[in-house]
Every structure is written in C-alpha cells, then in structure tokens.
Symmetry: C2
Subunit: 527 residues, 2 copies
C-alpha cells in the first residue's frame, strides 16, 4: 500500500537536516581520500555509462540517510505503480506510460481495451514502414522526387526533445552512414521563425511533420497554416507534403490533409515524448528506423536500472535524492547542466523543460500547498564554451550552484587532430576533469581576487561515445531522475497547469476583450 | 571625488530593506491602478524603444529610495570616470573603453600616446574597406572566386556576442537586401564542432576570422590548427583564407599567416567586444559595413541615455537598481531573459555571459569579501517557446524569478499570415502582454492546482522592429545595466579571475602532471 505523503511528513526527510554540515567537500576531495572517493562514489549505468558523484557533498552517512528516505517515501513502489499502469497523473486523471514506448518493466497495461505496449510498438512499426518508403522512393513528392528534408512543426515537448535528440545524433549519423535527411524545426509563433526555416529549405522536397497531441495548440496550428500557405504559393499540394503525429481522438487524426498520421496518447506527456511517435517520426526520417530503435533500446536499458531498490545501485534515484538534499537541506536554488559535447548543445534546454515543467510546483499531488522548496532552476550550455562565459559566477559568485557534467571519452565523428601533444578530444576531457576539481577544492591565493573557496559540488556522467543507445540511456536517466524527485516531493510531475492562464489571457487580448492593465499593455505593443 | 564603497557601507542601501514589503504587486496591478502604472512606469530609450517597469515591485517610494542610493553610490560619477578613461578595471589595471568603439561620451581618451576613439574608428574603417573589397571581388580566394561564407573562430566573448548579433540580424538582412555572406561559428574545443562546421561549408569559398585578444586562447588556437589542417588537405593556402582580430601586441598581429589583421586592445573586455573589431569583422562581412555602422549608432545613442543623472530617465541605471533591489532586498537569485522574437534566440546566452561573468563575484574591487549577494543567475529562451517549457516553474514554482521580457510591434521579415482573425505577430504580442499580467496578478481558483498567486515581477522593453540600430541600443542597455550593478555592488565587473584555475588544472592534466582525485578523474575519462 502506497502512502502519498509530503516530504516533511516523513521522519527520514526531517532527519536529513541534521546532516547539513556533514561533508566539507573541499577537504574530502583533497589527496588520496579524494582519489578514493572518485573510485568509490560511482554507479554503473547502462551502455557503458557511469554516474560519478564523488564531488557531491555526500558520504556514507548522508547516503544511508538518503536511502532511508527513499524507502520511507516508497520511491520504488511508486515507480512500480507508475509502470504497472496506475493513475499517477492525478491532476489530469491519466496513466503515465512513456516508459512503455521503449520497453516493458512490469505487467501488461491495458487501457480502453488496448494493450498499450502493443499500441506504441504498432506506431513505431508504422513510422518505420513509412520512413523506409520515403527513403527508398516509394513515397515521394508530386513529381516523384525523393524528399530531402523533414520539417517538424511543434512547440514545447513536440520541439525541444526531438530537436535536442536530432542535434545530438546528426554528426554521428553523418559519420556512420546513417544520415538520410536533414531535419528542421518550426516552433515559435513569431512569423520570422517559419519564414526563416521555409527560406532555408526546398519546400517541394520537404515533408512536414505536424506534432500536436490535442490537435489544438495555437502556435502549431498557426504555423501549419503558415506552411500550407507557403506550399500553396509554391503550387504544391499540401496534403502530399504533410504527416501528423497526434492522439487518435484529435481532429487531425482522420483528416485527409495528411499523407499519414501516427499516434501517441494522453498517457505520454509532451516533455516525456521523445521516445514516442513525437520523436520517432522525425528521427526515423532523418536517421532511419534502426537508429531510432537503438535509441529506444538505450532508454529501455536505463529504465531497468531505475527499478533497482538499492539506492547506490540506482543512478536515477541517487541523482534525484542528492538533488533533493541539495535543494532542501543545503538550500541551493539552481542546477547547471554542462555537457562537454557540442552535440548536446540543446540537451540542457530539453532538461530545462523536463525538470522545470515537471517539478516547478507549489502544491502536492492532492492540490495542497507544500511547505518546502521543490524543483530548481535548470540552465546550461556545452563545455568548454561555458567556461569562457558564466563559469565565473559558478566559481566565485555569492551563491552555490550544483553542477551536472556529462563527458565522453571519444568524439562522435572520429575526426580529430593532434596539436601540441594532445588531441582536441583530450583537451576537452582534460578541461572537464580540471573543472570538477577546481569547483570542489578551489585554491588558496593571497590575492582574494584569485582565491577560489571551492566547496562547489558536481557530478559527472561519463560515457564512451555519444551513440544512439547512449543518448537513449541519458534521456531516460534524466526522465527517471525528475520522476523520483517528484515522488520525493509528493508532486504530480505530469501536469502543467502553470501554462494555462497565459493562454486564456492571450485569447482575451486577441479578441479585444481586455481591460485595465492588460489593455494598457496591448496598446503599448499596438496589438 | 569618488568613494568606492561597498553597498552595505551606504545608508541609502541599508534603508532599502525597510521597503521589502512596500509593493503588493498582485494588488497594485489590478484595475485602473494597474493601467495607470503601465502608462506611468515607462522610460523612453533610444531608437523608439521603451523600458516599462510597471510590473516590477516598485512605486514612487521605492524609486525615491533607489534614487538616493544611485546618488550616494555615485553611479553616474563612476560611469563618467569610466568613459573619461580612468583605470576602472582595477584588478587588471586597465581602462574600460568599449563605449568608445561606438561614440564618445566625454573627453578624449589618450592611452600609450594614442587617441583611443581614433584607434577604434580606424579599425572600423579598415574592416569596412576589407569587407567592401571582399563583397566587390577585389579580395577573393586563390582561384579568383568570391568568398561566400565567413567563419568566426573564437570562444566566450569572441563567440557569444557576435553569434547572437548575427542571428539577430540574419533574417532582417535577408529581407532588406543587406545580406552578403553566411556566417558560421566554431567555438568549442570538441573536435566535432569544427568538423560539423567545416562539413557544412565550401572551404574553398570561406574566409576564416580568427578572434583572440591575447592570441593565446587554447580552444581558439586549437581550432585554428584544425581549420588550417582542413584547408591544407583541400589543397588550399590557409593564409589566403584567414584574417585575425587580435590586439596589436599579440603574436598574431604581424603574422604572415593572415590576409589582414584588425585590432582591439586590452581596454575592451571579451564580453563587451561586440561593437569592436570582434563583432565588426564578421558582421561587416555578413551584412556590409553600413549595417554594422547602424548597429554602432544604436549603441551610441543608448549609451547617451545612460549618462542621465535622473534615475527615472536613465533606463539602464533604473533596470540595474531594480535588479539590486530584487537581489539584495527581495532575495531573488535568478533572472530570466525572455525575448518574444526568434531572432533573439541566442541573446539570452550572450547576456548570460555578460552578466554572470561581470558580476558573479564575491570580492569587491579591492579584493575584500563582500557581505551581500551579487550577480544573479541569468537564463532564458525566446517566447512563445519558453511558455511551453519552463514557464510552469516561473508561474507556480516555490521560488520567485524576476523576468525581463523584450517585445516588438512588428516582425523583421514583413512576412506574415492572418489566421483566425489575427496575424502571427499579433499572437506573439498578445502572448507577451498576457504573460506579464498572469505573472503579476495571477488568478484565484478553488482548485489549488489551477491557482496562480501572482506577485511575480517582470519588466518589458518594447520596440517597433528589431533593426540594426535597435539591436545596438538593446546591447548597450544591458552592458550599461551590468556596469551600474557592478558599481552599486562595488565590484570590478571587468575581470574574470574565476576562469583561470580551470585552465591551469587542465594544462596539468594534459601534461600528465596530476595526482590524487584529478588523476582519478583523468583515468575515468581515459585522457
């Protein structure tokens, strides 16, 4: 029997606060003890990845306390309930099934008479079949020419995740004979976004993927109309250039406006939809269905790790609870995600949505206000770029920002040059190693301007190379981390009521139905 | 006589704390009072822009207190000292002259016997001359073919600002007959960054701009070698394809490896260098020298506004002091920058560097530890994209994040379609107006999940259209805002010691000269 209790109703959570000053990071990371920690505080993930938390402010005592909290908060039981098909999204009264898009962790989940795993696999197969026909020329434009570009039209979860995944694999695919088509993305309702993308492609050779679960997203439908207008002006038949990814109940599902429609459902939240048809269509078109399948395999493998009951063997749960300790006990407000890989340039933007939209909440899953802080601000840019930018504040600012590094032993393309005795990849890796130690231990200097206090915590996920499997595992790790944090804080991580009010007010502005300050702002912007 | 005192040594700063609960934002923004505030709390900027702070937690009382602080902290006198050529960058014992790259606010500044305004203008003219010759075919590749692409090689301030500015004007230039060449950017030492850019261009028609003030930046020199290697492999003469932007004293300055060299100097900090040769070379090549000149004119016009002694007539100083009030008195730790313009997609990343590298410091300009918090975390993405992502936390998270909106009445390309009674641009503007009000006033709902408490402060900069002049003014506004905050906190906003330690340690790793935990991390990454 699961007890859904607020964190501060649990003894083990309140006990954590006694451990606030348990670990002096700058001290424990010095010398042989530091080296020992690097070897000890590491947990294997799937696909050769590992999560290393040596430079976090934890030790065996803190870990034992977190482990008690994991148990008392029933984190594993809650995850089991989720993947076995309970209504975990209480606000919207929905199941939460994105893990089923890549594997099956528990019992069959039947909803509305349908085995949901079968349903998701069926959609993947339909997409694979479609993508293969596009690649081999069975499906072409009106003139019988092959399509060369896929353009995704979507926003939020229909944009950030798929875009980040596309960018993460683009150069890998090009270097490994797995590149079929360019992908572009139109998201913003700013007309210059669609205009720029349309000007950068040959529309006659482009296939547009309209992605909207509800089929009612204002920005997406507006951009669809924008694109159809462009296709029409180019003398093209829009219905020969567009496919839809939506739910079976949406107005788009049966429309003849589309070459094909692929389905997701209400049990896949937008920000968790990269492994569903939302990511599947564009990634299968760009890189082929087998690459997408490998991406799913990586995610499925990492999901399995998240079922481990033992905290120090469950990287997602461990990452989550260290984050809770940092947020609630140590009082840190933000977290920076710092991948040392240019391919992951938009991965922080995806995690920003995933985390902040899931756990940026002040009420628990029953709608009662919580008495503790919840989700942090997430931001980040790739290293080494960030080192020459905002790292100054991370090193010497007045607030401490926990850091999440990601690094790979090898680069994706295999292309590299040896300059002054080391390759670029070695320089990249040397920098991330150096940063971890600089943040942890600092350096005493008599000139206070050059003094580094250290004590700034970080973890690193290390992998061999960013392949489709590795990317899937990384994605699943963070999805599961965010989920565990939501469970720990007793939140519903799967709704997003915070975006509704703005939509309602925007409609009022467009209808001219505004008054007072809103009207004044409308006038200021000359709407 | 200027007194460089810490904030908390000033009575007017300490007096601010009594005003912590002065303004109940959700209340004052309701009804007719809210409309009145929108009209009243607005200050004109240059080039038709205005800074509207109606939805900030200020009123006449707070403004009067901030005005006293501005006076006691001698913010205007400090700016005057800066633009008249005093050694404001005390850490590095340097003048701070980026404003001189676009105009002259005070007396002649002579350093090392050179009139610096003349020097910067001379470099602009040299760049303009060079760019014109590239455009008209006087300067070509070895085969006499015109260059079609400019590739900037630089990192940090040599990348983020110029890249953000290029993206901000790319579509405007294409729609206004001002587009001469594509620009690309190589920054990361990750070899896949250079590889991907090189694969995306015709190297035989590309001109590479190496940007490094010192001529010693590891990433940039590594990427230069990477590019030279590629040029050589393509049978091309690298010296016919490369120009340098550097200081006159750098090893690059007189090298025969470059077609031409353009100069900046030690008085231009990297993050303040967009209006120097660092931005000038790539923007003049891409859009022509006259567009770059218009960009400078906008920045110069906005600099003039920053000299106004009256707080409510000085948008940069006002923005700065509202930020200080939010940071120190109200205790907010982050600030989100939210431009409702896809063209400004990387403007937040530039401001992230500008702000966090300038004011992310714990010691004052004399190297003494300060007793108050300084620069905030800066992050952001364009609206409406962000609305479908991290806005959930902004609306309903447990911490309050102040917001900086930017909006334009018209889009850049002029291309738009009317859908369901409104254009995309109108929808974009309606959304930003709606968000401001949703954040400020919230909405009561019996369902706590749908309840919005409001009280979340924002300001908006509104402009007619994002032109080169407007972009220049925007850039200068934020540069001056950051400078005023640095003055207020008694920081040196112009050095960046926080990035040095990591560099030193990275070199040790590459030399194999590591031990203990650093060695363990090196092994983990198999360096």
């Amino acid at each position: 029997m699961i007890n859904w209790k607020n964190s501060d109703e649990l003894k083990s959570f309140n006990d954590l606060f006694a451990l606030k000053d348990q670990v002096k990071l700058a001290e424990v990371m010095e010398g042989a003890n530091g080296a020992e920690r690097v070897k000890k505080y590491s947990v294997p993930m799937s696909i050769g990845l590992s999560y290393n938390y040596a430079a976090k402010q934890v030790d065996d005592t803190v870990l034992a306390a977190l482990s008690k909290f994991a148990e008392e908060a029933q984190l594993i039981e809650k995850f089991e309930a989720l993947y076995n098909g309970e209504v975990i999204n209480t606000g919207e009264k929905r199941l939460v099934l994105h893990q089923l898009t890549r594997g099956q962790l528990g019992s069959d989940v039947i909803a509305e008479g349908v085995n949901k795993r079968d349903f998701y696999v069926e959609q993947q197969n339909k997409i694979a079949d479609f993508a293969n026909k596009v690649h081999n020329g069975e499906i072409t434009n009106e003139k019988g020419e092959k399509f060369t570009t896929a353009v995704q039209i979507g926003i939020g979860g229909s944009d950030l995740g798929p875009r980040a995944m596309y960018l993460a694999l683009e150069n890998w695919a090009k270097s490994n004979g797995k590149f079929f088509m360019d992908a572009k993305f139109i998201s913003n309702v700013d007309p210059d976004d669609a205009t720029a993308v349309l000007n950068s492609v040959d529309v006659s050779r482009s296939i547009f993927i309209l992605v909207s679960k509800s089929g009612t997203t204002l920005e997406t439908l507006t951009n669809e109309a924008f694109v159809k207008d462009a296709l029409k002006k180019a003398g093209l038949d829009a219905s020969k250039h567009m496919i839809a990814v939506t739910s079976e109940t949406s107005p788009l599902a049966k429309s003849s406006d589309y070459l094909a429609a692929f389905f997701m459902d209400d049990y896949i939240g937008g920000r968790y939809s990269s492994t569903s048809a939302v990511g599947g269509a564009v990634l299968s078109l760009a890189f082929g269905p087998d690459v997408f399948a490998r991406f799913l395999d990586g995610a499925a493998a990492e999901d399995k790790n998240a079922t481990n009951k033992e905290l120090t063997k469950n990287p997602a749960m461990l990452d989550a609870l260290i984050g809770v300790y940092e947020r609630n006990v140590l009082g840190y407000e933000s977290t920076a995600v710092l991948p040392y890989s240019q391919a992951l340039s938009r991965f922080p933007a995806h995690l920003q949505q995933l985390d902040m939209e899931s756990n940026g909440k002040s009420v628990n899953r029953f709608g009662d206000k919580v008495n503790y802080v919840t989700g942090p601000v997430i931001f980040g840019e790739p290293g080494t770029n960030g080192q020459h930018s905002f790292y100054q504040l991370l090193h010497q600012g007045t607030n401490i920002i926990p850091l999440q590094f990601i690094g790979f032993k090898n680069n994706q393309t295999g292309n590299d040059v040896d300059i002054q005795g080391s390759t670029s990849q070695q320089k990249l890796c040397a920098n991330v190693a150096a940063q971890i130690m600089a943040f942890a231990c600092g350096k005493k200097d008599e000139n206070a301007n050059k003094n580094f206090e250290g004590g700034r915590p970080s973890s690193i996920i290390v992998g061999d190379k960013l392949t489709p499997e590795v990317l899937g595992a990384l994605l699943a790790h963070f999805e599961n981390k965010v989920m565990f944090q939501g469970f720990a804080w007793n939140l519903n991580s799967f709704d997003q009521e915070g975006v509704q009010l703005g939509k309602t007010l925007a409609k009022k502005v467009l209808a001219g139905d505004t008054q007072d300050a809103l009207k004044a702002y409308s006038e200021l912007l000359e709407i």
